[in-house]
Symmetry: C2
Subunit: 270 residues, 2 copies
C-alpha cells in the first residue's frame, strides 16, 4: 500500500506523513497530523552563527527547548526522525536574510549549504494535547485558529549576537483549571513546560490581547484567565538583533514531525 | 564579623565559603560545605573548542547537565554566584594539555585567557543530599570516601571532536529502596537525574567494582544493588579524544559552590 496516498493523513505514522509532505501531498499546517508524536520548530543557521544560537538556547530553555542539533551540512536528524530530510520534510519554510523575512519556500534543497546547522526545538502542540487529555479547553484549537503570540517585555538572556524579548503564546483558561494547567504543562519541559506568566497581560508588556504580534486573536470568556507560555517564535525575533546572513525556519504552524512520542518529552532527559 | 575566619566553615553561606577559599583559608574538598546549596563541576576551554563542547553537553545532558556558560574571557558566573571568580574560588584545579593531566593548581589567575569559556555542570552532591533526606544511605559518605567512578561501555553521543564513553558513579542501595532512589534523584535532572543503570555492572562494561577508575571503592553489603548515575567526570575522558590545547577543570571533589539552592534544580527550568 502506498500509505502516502491514503486520504486520512492524520492517522499515518510520522515517517508516512513526512513522506507525504516530501512528495508534495500535503502543504498545509501540521496541527493534528501524526497525533501523539512530537512536532518541532526548525531553525537553520550557518555554522558561524551556530555557537551563539546554541548558547542562546542553553540560556533560554523555556522559549528554546533543544531536541536536536545536527552536524554541519547534515540535513538528517537521525536521532529524532529516522530517514527524515530537513530540506524537504516540512510543508513550508520561511527564509530570513540579515534578520528580515525574505520569502517562503516549499523546500530548501537548493538553498542548503555544507555549513548549515539545523536546530529542532520542542513545540506547544505537545502540551496542548496533554491539556486536552486532561479536559482543559484549548481555545484556538476550538476556534480553528493559530495560537495568538505576543512580543513580551520579558527579556531573554543574550548570547553573543542573539538577544531580544521573549515571544509568548496565550491560552485562556477557566480560573478553576489553572492549577491543573500548570501541572500538566510543567511535565513537558522540552515543550516549553510550565507557563511563564498567569493573569494581567500588562505585567509582561502586553496591552491588547486582541492584537497579537503573530497568529490570531481568540475569545477570552468571563471567568477565564490569560495564561502565557514561552514560544518557539522567539528565535525569529532574536534574529532581528543578530542579523545572520541567512536563517531558515519552519513557516508558522508548518512544523517538523519527529518520531518521538509526546511522553518522551516528560521528565528526566535521556 | 569576618565570617570567612569563623571556624565552622560548613555553616557559612556560599559567598562566605567562596571568600574563604579565595583567601586560601580552605584547600580541601567541598563536600559538606554550604549545605543546601548547589555545587558544580567546572570545565574551562578556549573559545575555539567551546562549540563542540557545548554541543557535547546538549547531546549528553545526563553526564553534562549545564548550569551556566560564561561569555569568552569573563570569569564571573554572575547568574549562579554573585561576586564569584572562577579563577580563584575553587580550592583546587586540574590542568589538562592535549587531553592529558598536566598538574594541579590552587588558582588559575595566571593561566586565564581572554578567549576562555567556563562551563558549570550540575553535580551529584545535590541528589545525595536528597537521598539522605529520604533516609537512603549514601555509602561513600558514611565511609568518608570519594564516590567510586567507572569508565562504562555506554558511549556518549559524539559532538565535533568530543567523544568517548560515559563515566558513571556507583552507590549501593538496599533492594527495598531502589524505587524511592530513582524517584528522589529523578527530581533533579540538572544534577545527573535518575540512574542510568541498576544492577549487574557487567551490563555496562564494569567488571570489578573494587577497582574504580576514579575515586575510592566502597563496601557493597548483601542485599544491596549497585546503582549507577552519569558522572561529571565524563568531559575529562572525552577530552582525551578531543585533545584541546588546554582544558582546566576542578580537581575531583573540589567543586565550585553556587548561590543556587538544591531545590532550584528540581523540575522545570527557569
Amino acid at each position: 500500500m502506498d500509505r502516502a496516498k491514503t486520504p486520512d493523513l492524520a492517522a499515518l505514522d510520522p515517517a508516512a506523513v513526512r513522506a507525504a509532505i516530501r512528495a508534495g501531498g500535503w502543504t498545509g499546517i501540521t496541527a493534528g497530523l501524526a497525533p501523539g508524536f512530537v512536532q518541532a520548530n526548525l531553525v537553520v543557521l550557518p555554522a558561524s552563527d551556530a555557537y551563539d544560537f546554541l548558547l542562546f538556547c542553553q540560556r533560554n530553555p523555556k522559549p528554546c527547548p533543544l531536541l536536536e542539533v545536527t552536524d554541519p551540512g547534515d540535513p538528517h536528524p537521525g536521532r529524532v526522525a529516522r530517514g527524515a530530510d530537513l530540506r524537504t520534510d516540512l510543508p513550508q519554510y520561511r527564509i530570513f536574510r540579515r534578520g528580515t523575512p525574505a520569502g517562503e519556500a516549499r523546500r530548501i534543497t537548493d538553498l542548503w549549504r555544507e555549513d548549515f546547522v539545523a536546530f529542532l526545538l520542542g513545540c506547544s502542540f505537545t502540551f496542548e494535547a496533554a491539556m486536552q487529555r486532561a479536559g482543559i479547553p484549548v481555545r484556538h484549537l476550538d476556534e480553528r485558529h493559530n495560537v495568538p503570540m505576543y512580543i513580551s517585555s520579558v527579556m531573554c538572556r543574550p548570547a553573543g549576537t542573539f538577544a531580544g524579548p521573549m515571544v509568548v503564546s496565550m491560552r485562556p483558561v477557566p480560573a478553576g483549571l489553572i492549577s491543573q494547567t500548570v501541572q500538566v504543562t510543567a511535565r513537558s519541559p522540552l515543550a516549553h513546560g510550565a507557563p511563564i506568566h498567569i493573569g494581567d497581560p500588562a505585567e509582561i508588556g502586553i496591552h491588547d490581547l486582541s492584537r497579537p504580534d503573530f497568529g490570531d486573536a481568540v475569545t477570552v470568556h468571563d471567568g477565564e484567565v490569560p495564561v502565557f507560555w514561552a514560544c518557539g517564535v522567539t528565535p525569529q525575533v532574536a534574529a532581528r538583533e543578530a542579523r545572520p546572513d541567512i536563517m531558515i525556519t519552519h513557516a508558522p504552524g508548518h512544523m517538523f514531525i519527529t518520531d518521538l512520542r509526546d511522553e518522551d518529552l516528560e521528565g528526566d532527559p535521556r
